[in-house]
Structure formats: C-alpha cells, structure tokens
Amino acid sequence: MSTATRHQTTELDRVVIRFAGDSGDGMQLTGTQFTSVSSAFGNDTATLPDFPAEIRAPAGTLAGVSAFQVHISDHDILTPGDAPSVLVAMNPAALKTNVGAVAPGGTIIVNVDAFDERAFEKANYSSNPLTDGSLVAYKVYEVPMTSLTMEVAKEAGVKPRDAERSKNFFALGLVCWLYSRPVEGTLEWIEKRFSNSPMVLDANTRAFKAGYNFGETAELFEVNYQVRPAALEPGVYTNVTGNTALAWGLIAAAHQAHLPLFLGSYPITPASDILHELSKHKHFGVRTLQAEDEIAGVGAAIGAAFGGALGVTTTSGPGADLKSESVGMAVSLELPLLVIDIQRGGPSTGLPTKTEQSDLLHAMFSRHGEAPVPIVAPMTPSHCFEVAIEAARIALKYRTPVIVLSDGYLANGAEPWRLPDPASLPDLHVDFATETNHTDDDGTPVFWPYIRDEQTLARPWAVPGTPGLEHRIGALEKQDGSGNVSYDPVNHEHMVHLRAAKVAGIARDIPLLEVDDPAGIGGAPLLILGWGSTFGAIAAGVRRLRARGLSVAHAHLVHLNPFPANLGDVLRAYDKVLVPEANLGQLAKLVRAEFLVDAHTLSKVQGVPFRAAEIEEEALEMLGVTAGATTAEEGVAS
C-alpha cells in the first residue's frame, strides 16, 4: 500500500467525518478506530457518537441508524464539528437520517449495494435518492462495499452470511486512504482485537486492505487528503472518553486520599461504562457492587462511607430521581459521598442515549427540606478526570455528598488528553477522628459526632473499629454537637443554617471564575456564561466571533454550588449576558435569582450538543450585528 501515484494529495486543516449505518454495522467501532489512528498520527480530535437506545432496531430502518462523528485537525479544536464534510452512509436509512447535517458541497460515500427497493421502503424513500436528483448539492461516491467485501472475505474462508459483516472494515480502509492515514496501527489493532477468531481476523484485515486499495486504484476519487499533525503541547497523550476519565479520576482520588474506593451502582445508560471500567481495576482495591436498584447503589455507598471508604454511586436520568432520598440522608448524616449523574434527555425514560444538561435544578433542589449539596461539572471528556478528584476533595474535606454533573456527550465523546503526572495530583489525605472531643457533665471524656471544625464546619469522621468513639448517627434531626435526636425548634433552625453555611463556605475554597476577555473583565459588551459540556461549542463560537473582529467574553462554571465567589461581580460587569444550555434555562434561572442579572437563555434540547454556529448566531443577534457569511468553523482561517 504505497502512496497514491495517480492521485493528487490536497492539504486540509481539518475535516469532519460522519460514519453512519445500521446499529449492527459496527459504525461505533469504525469511528473509534479512525479516531485513535488520527490521534496517534498527531491530529487533534473530538468525537460525537450517536446511537439509538434500542440494541438492535429492525435492520435498515430509520430507528436503527447508528452514527459516529469525528473531527480531526492540524490545530487544537473544541468540538466534534458543526457539519460533517464527509458522510459515509452504509444504507439508505443512514443516508436519510444524516444527509441533512452535511454541509452543501460535502462528500457522501454510499455503500451502493445496500441501495435497493426494499431498503428504500424501510427508509421511507419513495424514489432512489442516488438518481432522483435530491443529492445534487453533494459529491456522491457510490462504492459497492458489500460485494467487494464478500469477495475478499470469502478468501478468508468465512461463510457468505458472515463475510458481509466485515464491510465496516472496508469503509474504514477507504476513509483511511482518503485521509492518508497510516495503516499499520489499524492492522495491529485488528490483529489484537480479533486474535481469538483467526478467520474473522483474516476477513477484517482483507476487507480493510481492500477498502484502502479501492481508494487508491479505482478511478473514482480525484484527490485524497492530508490533515497534518496538530501543534499540541509536548507530552504523552492518550485518547479518553469522559466516562473512562471519570472512572480513572475516582481511582486517583481514592489513591490520593489513601482510602478504599467503593462503587454501588445499578446499570443505566449512559453511566454504566463507569461501573464497567471500575470493575476491571480490582488490583487498585476497588470494590464494585452491582446493586439491586438505584437506591441500594447509593445506600451501599453511604454504608461504605460510614466505614471509612470513598463511597461513590453512578447514575443517570430516572436513577437520579431514585437516589434523592438517600442523598438527603447523606446531607443529614454529613458523610462524604460522590453522586455521579451522567445527564441524558428527560423527562422520565426520555432519551437514554442522547445528551442533555437538564438535571442542574434537580441536583440543586430535588431533595425535600433544606438539603444543600455541592455540585461540580466537567467541561470536556478529559476534564472528567480532574473533576472527579475535585468532587472527592470537597466531599472528604466537608463531609458532604457532592454531585458531579457530566452528560451523555462527555461520557461517550473522546479527545486526546495530555496525561498528568500522578505526582502532581492533590493530596486528599483524611484524618479520621481518633480521640474523644468533649467532656460530659460528670467529667467523662466522650465523643460527640457533630462538633464541627471551626473553619470548614465539617464534623469529625470516626469510623467503626475506633475504641471509645462509638456513636450513633441518624437521619432524624440531631442536637448540634452531641448528635442526639432533637426535636427542639430552635436547634433545628440552627442546624438548617449550619448545613447551609457549610456548603456556602466552600466558595472560599474554590478558584475564582476565570473570564476569557481579551479586553479585561467587563471590557466586552457581551459575556457568554456556560457550564459543563457546552464548553467546546461556546469556545469555538467565541473564536468565530472574534475572527469577525467582535469583542466577546467567555466564562465557564465548573463549580455550580456554591458558585465561585466572584461570579456576581463578573456578571454585573457586563451589559449583556448569554447563557447557552442544553435545557430550558436552568443556570440562567439560578444566576437571575442569586444576582438579579438579566441573563439571556439560549436553549437547545434536541439530544445533541450545541454547534459553534448556533452560539455565534445568538451572540450576533444580541450584539445587533447582521450575520454575514460565516467564518471558518472554529474561527481559525483555512
């Protein structure tokens, strides 16, 4: 497989490719492998997997389409890209559901073997889209992927019915050629991944090579492309999804705290991968319990915390509802606990595989009574690592449950991550109580579980096994200090204020909000305030606005409860504030209530992340600028 001779190679600074096919076609695998080859090649990458909730919807139907979008570039990028420039469609249904996203003038590569009457019917096409002129705005390449794959896979000795299944490797090979990807990495990966079924290994290898060679030899493609490595910061990199980074962050946090890690969890999309990942790392002393339900998952984590472990529970959507009662108990018991919520579309079962940011108010207020809980949210997939450690730091130091709000986009999306040096991670060492801390009326030294640290207002953590510190805690209101059950009205009010003050006081222990405003804080006429996974789209939108010569500020919240101490001042420094959120305006509601600012909401609840162009358009509107031709996707000139 030498370099193409008959083809010109054109340099691109970036490309967005979407692989789309039936859920059984292996599109997630194809996309993931294309991403890792590109990352290893040195490109910056960002991905957006998009798959149906059904494991296998009927083949060929619109409901069964699974897609994977990847953005690769020679510079640092922030999003998986607004519009794919290349769509690989394995069947008519995949074409139909994805063609709308492709930029006009874009490239569409179809597996023409799958385009027949039956397939048109299943995809609700009344005519053949390849011939009826509906794709006139695109460059369409018709490649007989199924038949060519079957041809080479037969040589590997697999049955015709199974041979067809290697066609995603043909597609991968073809796209690897089209974008001048090195092939060795993929060949090695196939070898490793299919080592236990040599025949499949052989068939997939042949299909991959056939796809690559098809690009090179068929006179179908005029050019192929080159996307040069990006100038990333020096260091050792890996590709990581948000869920993996979160799981690793939890392991790192427990390690830094010298505590055993315990996860109580019930399988739920899209959080289950954290349970899967943590279950693999028993040699780190990680205990995982697949509980009978969501409530037991968090209950077991609280039990483990009482015994001196770093207790964690993971969930999403309706699972978060079920945990509210227990999180309220953890507020009352004042034990450290991490509650990881991988947000997905709601209400109720909603959109299990689609992303949303609609649990912010739930995290704030879902518990009855005055039950404040600190909240942190990661901005990018790799940032999940750092946020897991930060959440643990707060939980352990303040003896409180902490909610981490990730989401489906971060959970499944991947990006290159420059590995941190483990020696640079914060020390989370915890001092358990070992001594009595009070004297009874009769002079006996006793242990009172609710005597607080003056600075943090945290109560002592005395774990069973410590002689002399035997004590009972409960979810009933307790007397300040002694922890004994108390129905005294004044004490109750005092305790409500104490618990609120403890959480509010964390604001003194978190970084001030940084504002990206080249004109200095308050310099720009517009501040875009985001939280969580909108980071990439907002930052890319801001780049585009600045490329137009406009002055725009961006600030992104990681700590959502309490807010950074300077948030009010920052908000008041700007005439206009825009808050893009994948909900109906939950953060905007909080900052309006807290700071009386006229925050403007940009809402999107389509189960997919914001596009940079959407941020740009809304900002232009607020700035009163008439939108002209849009600039390069992320504001970096081609």
Binding site: S36, T238, G285, G308, P464, R472, A475
Partner: protein, 341 residues
Amino acid sequence: MTDTKVPVTTRKDWSSDQEVRWCPGCGDYSILAALQMLMPELGVRRENTVFVSGIGCAARLPYYMSTYGVHSIHGRAPAIATGLAVTRPDLDVWVITGDGDSLSIGGNHLIHALRRNVKITILLFNNQIYGLTKGQYSPTSEQGKVTKSTPFGSLDTPFNPVSLALGAEASFVARTHDMDRKHMQEMFRRAHDHDGAAFVEIYQNCNVFNDGAFEKITGRDVRADNLIPLVHGEPIRFGSEQQLGVVMDRDGRLRVAEVAEVGESALLVHDERRDEPGLAFQLSRLARGPYEPTPIGVFRAVERPEYGAAMTRQLLEANERRGPGDLAGLLASGGTWTVAG
C-alpha cells in the same frame, strides 16, 4: 470477630445513655434486653459492632446500644449494611428492621441481601402492624384486618417472612418470639455466628395497635401446645406432654399428628443443614398464621460462600496477578503517543 483478649463486659456496657422511648409494655423492650444481655457473651468488641436500622419503632434500637450505629431511612438498612459489611469485613454488622420496613418499602433490599449472602445479621421485629405511623395494616397483617386504613378489612394476602427468606436463597433462617428471652438469645447467637446473611423473624407484640397478635401461640398457658421447637437432628415434637409431632403424609404434605396415633418413628426429624430448602419451606407453611401450632427455631442453616469474603478474594487475586495498582500505568493503559517539544 472473636478475640481472646476481648474485655469482660456486662449489659450496662452495651447500653447507651439514651432514654428508651418505646410505649410502656412494648415487646421491643424484651428484645432489646435479650440483645444487650447477650452481647457480652458473643466475644465481640463494642467498637467493632454496628447496628443499622431503617424506619419504624424497631429502628430506634441502635440509639440504645453503646456501639456504632446508623438510624437510616425507610427500608434501606440492608443496602447500607451491605456497603459497610463488604468494605469492612472486620466488623459485626446487625440490621434491625420491622415488617413494614423490610417487607414493604424495603422488600427488594432484604431479598437481595439474603441471596448475596453478605455477612449481616438481620433481626426482623414482626408485629403485623404499622406502629410508628399509628396503626395501619402491614404486609404481615392477616387478611380482613380492620385498621385505620382498612375500615372494611384489608384485602391483601400477608407475607410469611420465613417463607420469603427461604425463597430468597437465605442461608440462615430462624424464628423466635418476644416472650422467651432464652430462645431469642439462642437464635441471635446462632444468627451472629453464621458466616453469611442471617435472618431472624421475631414475633413481637405491639400492645397499643395490635395487642395479642401472637397470644394464641405465645401465651404462657398455650405456648407448649402451639409452639413447635425445631431442633436439628431431633424428631419434631411438641405439646405439654410431648404428645404432638410433625409427620409427612404419603402425598408429601406435612401435618401435625398425635404421637400416640402415628408412633414416634413416624415423626419427621429436623435437618436444618439440608441443602435443598423445600422441607424448610414446608415447615414454614405448616401454620396458616400465628393462631395454630407454629414452628420456631432454626429452619435453615447451610454453608454458602460469604459475599464480602468472595469480593475480598477477587481483589487479592487481582493484586497477585497484576501487582498493586499503579496510576501512571492506568492512565497509559489505553495506548499513548508522544508529542515532542
């Protein structure tokens, strides 16, 4: 954990300074007393003992023990105890619960704790009524029970807690009652010493909302003829004159018979260690309710791998196979590339 150097203690050492606040005459007092008097005999330390409870009258018990304790939320005690027991196998973890707490709102946690066989000792105070919420029927109330929430009689078929526990794969199942301290202590001791999840149903009188629910079988004058003690390896025999026994008919059904009629050799010999739980289940169904001859004692006590120990073993094996966890290695485990400076 037994320890030869465990200090000698008395009931007083195991009693907290909190005033006990159950209604005067409540059966819970005798259960608490049985437990506090038993603790010094178990060879355990206070600091290594944890009582976990949910919600209900019984759930207040941990406050009265001078050990570690968690008075948690309704029905969740088995889940909380599971997390504690699997991360701290060095502790003795007890769950104190009631018929509403663990057969209604917390039913799921109870059955899964039993099937997992986590080392926790579960004492279920069954008074067949909701006491704390002032007198509604419970999942063990007899059908037709008239209460505040069922003025025309309850429609629900009650649970038989022992049958339920056996069906949930419990490895230790016993029943006792609040009128017999010695029997309670024997059952609690056996349950505590069992390596796995142990379930003890305690018939407990609620003298305010369901007084006399067990009077027909636990009353002093009727007890001998209505409680059937199960003793491992012994023929199942009872009655003031030992005149009654349990036999298996040809169709496989169990029934109470006069020993004089069937002969001593026809009596069923109790075997709590039978791997197959069918006979224990049949014994649990012998009485239709606590108003006719009812077996008490250990129904089932079999050895099955304890969950926490099995989990610990997996950790040790992983550690042996892969060495202790190394963070840098973990972060690089997905494959890396280097960007040169």
